[in-house]
Symmetry: C2
Amino acid sequence: MQVITSKENPLIKQICKLKEKKYRNEYGQYLVEGVKLVKEAIEEKADIKHIVINEEMKETGLIEKHLKNGLQTNEFIQVPNSIFKWISEVENPQGILAVIQKKSEKVQIDYSQDIILALDDIQDPGNLGTIIRTADSIGLKQILLSKGTADPYNSKVIRSTMGAIFRVRLVECENFVQMLKACQENKYSILVTSLDTKQSIYDLTLKRKVIVIGNEANGVSKKVLEIADQKVTIPMLGKTESLNASVATGVILYEYVRQNFFMKNKANGKK
Amino acid sequence: MQVITSKENPLIKQICKLKEKKYRNEYGQYLVEGVKLVKEAIEEKADIKHIVINEEMKETGLIEKHLKNGLQTNEFIQVPNSIFKWISEVENPQGILAVIQKKSEKVQIDYSQDIILALDDIQDPGNLGTIIRTADSIGLKQILLSKGTADPYNSKVIRSTMGAIFRVRLVECENFVQMLKACQENKYSILVTSLDTKQSIYDLTLKRKVIVIGNEANGVSKKVLEIADQKVTIPMLGKTESLNASVATGVILYEYVRQNFFMKNKANGKK
């Protein structure tokens, strides 16, 4: 365990910089904070560069008891509470955070699953994190992200994923439309949500589809609409015009789950 | 149009107090901010006490053109930008907010709909607002709120509802369990989400149900579990253990929509 007591230490300064997107991109690293998320990072074998703890965390014995297995001693850095508070992005820090190396970004798409989720400029970090969590809940292994999507390594996104960030591969697309076309060449059809159609998600068989979720305010972008194979709507029965982006994603992904895993149960066994 | 230029004006001071829950309860009033929400408040005939605008908003002519119909001149208060900024709860205020009188709270439950949504200590304002929006999207007219639920008149909740706050009746329950029992007496069964059952939402017919959504961290409370008629789970196919509360609500409410409005479409017309 390395003990650092100065804010001027270059490593501490570098870690602190990871709160900004610019430096997360430069170093290819990001921060996750809190006992639960750090535990998940270890369990999911994320590429942990350092674990920073404060004095109070040291005293709990949690590190010795639960977290040290398989990790190198020199990955741990202990700092005074004041420095921890300075690095931390939450109001009441638990006293533990990890610096994680992003996976080397293969731009390749995995065509092994029936559904590919693609996000077209989702802006709200809470929505983005919740969508990643929802995708993981149905076992999706990847999500395609357009260039205008919020940074998935932002701390608010990571908190909202509840650990799913370590399991779902995020494909940040330089050219989103090109990636969608590649999916088409691999026999997926591009499905976009729209207010401008009568075809509901319940009229479709959700197989071999790319589901594109549009920006919170503007919906799916024009470029994507132009190459889309199918427009589909989630029926609105009240006066509200649209759903929150993460709720819409959940409704569509779980319609896929129902169709593919629960159609048999529907025929009989109703209560 | 009344013009007020002093922060010490008693009306301005009272309006400013409405940012705190304590005073929202005391005065029975709350604030909504931004052009879109204020327009919705007018359209939905919310009980508007005052509309506060800044000088810039006055100059846009928006008030004369669009908002004045049916409103009294003396409902408008113009203040300097500096005072507006002081009242406002957003970083870049649009320069318009409304003071609205809460509906007199009848504790009576409306038993006219097939589904009653009940929230058991939902804590996150974003979740609460999104749930209200989702309920309105399927035409639900009311939601029951346990005492430990976040204040629905908090500004973040109101923004997340996207206007649904003016349409959905919120029944704040002094005694949540008693209210649920009253629903049972009116032939509803109480449905709780739980990780502790194999019965999925796709195994049930969602008719005459109270759907209880539990707290984000702790789920449905023990008192409610004790009187529940059915436990049900949303299937988790990945490693994520649970869904975000608003996504879970959306998945269940739209399963109700599918069962009740789209079962015919399912049999034929698949694409």
